[in-house]
């Protein structure tokens, strides 16, 4: 099973590739450090660089070749949250080997849960619980956003179980198509559910807006100086950035710990050979359902925070293409490899948010080409997916175990899905 040593090695490789040049000066002192201290140091350095991004982004050069400028902090918020979803999807696709083409449904459920529990959507009632920066008289349900994030995760997890239970019995490719079906139904439902027997559940194509913002309330503000309400703060992007980063780190931590847990080993066993796993006493249905529920949980939390950051949940955000976009992150990074998915997620979300259009405008300005790169972004993702599958199916930063599976080849033929002999 994937051991601690394995993990350290992977982490080392990530950090090593990215930071090698900078560290040459302190090379000697560095090499005296023990292995574990070194990788910890690298991780801390990297984390520090990321965490301080909002502070030094202003002083970064503004006319960089190719990408033109460094991503703004608000872009980075979305990038981090999309990456968090990709890490969630990696639990389903990467660990358990269940192809989910409808992950956008979980994003939608999370976002709309935030919309229902923290906005003026249901004017019929007036419920306040720990809401910050909202007038007590405002109608609707206003729960504290931190609480809403948790509730959104749980509701989405339950939705994952509901979707999973009837379909996980099916063979893998059918599962893919059923999840795809749900990924299409749920967005259509939220688009149409503005008049369910006269009841406006989702406000149709207009979406739910505004959605409350996170914050710490007045008491904590006085005691510790924490911001009352993010949206009303002048540095709201930075606050959202650190919240998103915190959530992403929690997700990564949970994801790594889950992988090494009993449950995670069961997932990997199922991925490698379902029949053999069942024979060894792994309860297939329960294990797969857990993969679904936990994968969905993180998607829901991320979705809720995206909704809070955008101050709204709009049906136009939820399209099938988004599921493929997330899948592309998982495939590019390496299915099952947490660090690979994080790196690929950050790169691809950045490209999606502003990178591609910047690169496109640079390309058109500096070459005689006239080509709208951003228009073809999903074609580019398609090409990435196909090339990765053909030439490097293990991903950019492969997980050791999965690499073995692919290279052994012989075991692979029918195992990822296996047949349902059990």
């Amino acid at each position: 099973m994937a051991t601690g040593g394995n993990r350290v090695a992977v982490k080392d490789r990530v950090g090593g590739a990215a930071r090698a040049a900078k560290l040459e000066g302190v090379g000697k002192a560095w090499s005296r450090l023990p292995q574990r201290g070194r990788s910890l140091g690298l991780a801390a350095l990297l984390l520090g660089l990321v965490a301080l991004y909002p502070i030094y982004v202003e002083s970064l050069p503004t006319s960089v070749p190719v990408i033109r400028e460094f991503p703004s902090v608000s872009t980075m918020v979305t990038v981090l949250l999309f990456t968090m979803m990709a890490v969630g999807l990696n639990i389903v696709v990467g660990y358990a080997g269940l192809l989910d083409l409808g992950y956008v449904a979980f994003y939608a459920v999370g976002a709309y849960t935030a919309g229902w529990l923290a906005s003026g959507q249901f004017q019929q009632v007036n419920i306040h619980f720990g809401s910050v920066g909202i007038s007590r008289d405002a109608g609707g349900i206003h729960l504290n956003i931190w609480l809403v994030l948790l509730i959104a995760g749980i509701i989405t997890g339950v939705a994952g179980i509901l979707i999973g239970l009837p379909t996980l019995r099916l063979r893998g490719d059918y599962l893919a198509i059923v999840t795809l079906g749900f990924g299409e139904i749920i967005p259509q439902f939220v688009r149409n559910a503005d008049n369910l027997g006269g009841f406006d559940l989702t406000h149709g194509t207009f979406g739910i807006s505004p959605i409350d913002s996170p914050g710490f309330g007045e008491k904590l503000n006085e005691a510790l100086g924490l911001p009352i309400n993010f949206q009303q703060s002048f540095d709201k992007q930075d606050l959202f950035f650190w919240s998103a980063l915190g959530l992403l780190l929690i997700t990564i931590f949970c994801s790594v710990r889950l992988r090494d847990s009993r449950l995670g080993r069961a997932w990997i066993a199922i991925r490698e050979d379902e029949t053999a796993a069942a024979a060894m006493g792994v309860p297939l249905m329960r294990t797969k359902t857990w993969a679904y529920a936990l994968g969905a949980f993180f998607g829901g939390v991320a979705g809720a925070l995206v909704a809070s950051f955008n101050s709204g949940a709009f049906p136009s955000q939820f399209f099938f293409n988004f599921s493929i976009f997330l899948l592309c992150m998982v495939v590019l990074g390496g299915m099952g490899s947490v660090w690979g998915v994080v790196v690929a997620g950050i790169i691809l979300s950045y490209l999606n948010q502003e990178g591609l259009s910047n690169i496109g405008s640079w390309l058109n300005a500096s070459t005689p080409l006239d080509f709208e790169v951003a228009k073809y972004q999903f074609g580019i993702y398609g090409i990435i997916i196909v090339l990765m599958m053909l030439f490097r199916p293990v991903g950019l930063i492969p997980e050791g175990r999965r690499k073995q599976e692919i290279q052994e080849g012989g075991v692979a033929k029918d195992t990822l899905y296996g047949d349902r002999h059990a």
Binding site: P166, A176, I324, G382, I385, V386, M389, K413, L416
Partner: protein
């Protein structure tokens, strides 16, 4: 039990509508028959490929859309058809368009197989499936690059005038032509798979690739041929669709999913099943969008179609005409 109850409820709904306005009901049924025929052609492509490779060829719907768009170029650009010519010229031009588009679709589809799927055959099936998703986006973007985001439509080659009228019910030449083209294509396909040497090779390869290879069947060629066939069907469907509706680069994605649902509904891998499923889905869509009483309306079509897909997969994964296999669904 639940299924029976459900069917009874639908029957009551249809009957209620039929009694309220029989002519309208039959007209809507004819629309369903026309769209259903097109769905059937696309669904056959999914079923053929699934039968032989157990692969959901996501790119199939996009090949269909590209074929439809290409056929508009052939029709207008190559043959200069505008609808005002003599009937013989139109018939010949249309036939030429269909043949050329089928050739294009066949080439496209087998190229995708050759470039993308062939070398992944010994990999886990997940790999091929993900590649198919990627291929789908590539083909879609090829359509986008060539034809842009605007909808295209065919000139009115076949008049909307009624071919025959019974009472108040009439069927236009345009709709009739879809059915007139679909039926010979289906018959030809059935003959090809059932009665020719190549068809036998296809069935053998579908059952067991290794054993088929040992019997001297060229498995690679047989699989290529299957993709050729599927692509040809997508080409024909593309022309027919273009003559009824507008289409653009992303039409194929949704239509592909609907057609795939049709294939699953009928029992994937089963040719008659795909045809039946296509027609059923066509009817369901037409009734849902057309009937006046108690129908959810066009906003919900997609949800209903996917609801059917999920229900079928959960309760009867082998489909209406399929046989339960030892592996389950």
């Amino acid at each position: 039990m639940l299924g029976v109850l459900f069917v009874i409820l639908i029957a009551i709904w249809l009957l209620r509508n039929f009694i309220a306005d029989p002519q309208e009901f039959i007209n809507i049924s004819l629309i369903g028959l026309t769209t259903g025929s097109i769905y059937a052609l696309v669904a056959l492509g999914y079923t053929l490929v699934y039968g032989i490779l157990q692969l959901i060829n996501f790119a199939h719907g996009d090949v269909f859309a590209l074929c439809g768009l290409v056929s508009s170029s052939i029709m207008i650009g190559l043959f200069n058809l505008s609808g005002g010519e003599a009937a013989v010229v139109i018939a010949a031009g249309l036939l030429g368009t269909i043949v050329l588009t089928m050739l294009f679709g066949a080439t496209m589809n087998s190229t995708i197989e050759f470039v993308g799927y062939r070398r992944l055959r010994n990999q886990p099936r997940l790999t091929m499936l993900i590649t198919a998703v990627g291929m789908s986006f590539i083909v879609q973007n090829i359509s986008l690059a060539i034809y842009g985001v605007n909808y295209r439509s065919a000139p009115e080659l076949i008049p909307e005038t009624p071919a025959f009228t019974i009472g108040e019910v009439s069927l236009s030449w345009n709709k009739l032509s879809v059915i007139l083209i679909t039926i010979p294509v289906l018959l030809g396909l059935t003959w090809l798979v059932r009665s020719t040497r190549q068809g036998k090779a296809m069935r053998a390869t579908a059952q067991d690739q290794d054993a088929a290879a040992m019997m001297g069947i060229n498995v690679n060629r047989t699989i290529s041929f299957t993709f050729l066939l599927a692509g040809g069907l997508a080409g024909a469907a593309g022309v027919l669709f273009l003559m009824q509706f507008n289409m653009r680069y992303d039409t194929g994605f949704e239509l592909g999913l609907i057609a795939f649902t049709a294939a699953v509904l009928g029992g994937i891998g089963n040719l008659a099943g795909a045809t039946l499923g296509g027609l059923l889905i066509g009817f369901i869509q037409a009734y849902n969008e057309g009937l006046a009483i108690w129908s959810p309306g066009g906003d919900w079509t997609r949800s209903i179609v996917f609801g059917i897909l999920i229900a079928i997969l959960v309760f009867r994964p082998e489909g209406l005409l399929g046989e339960r296999t030892p592996e389950g669904a």
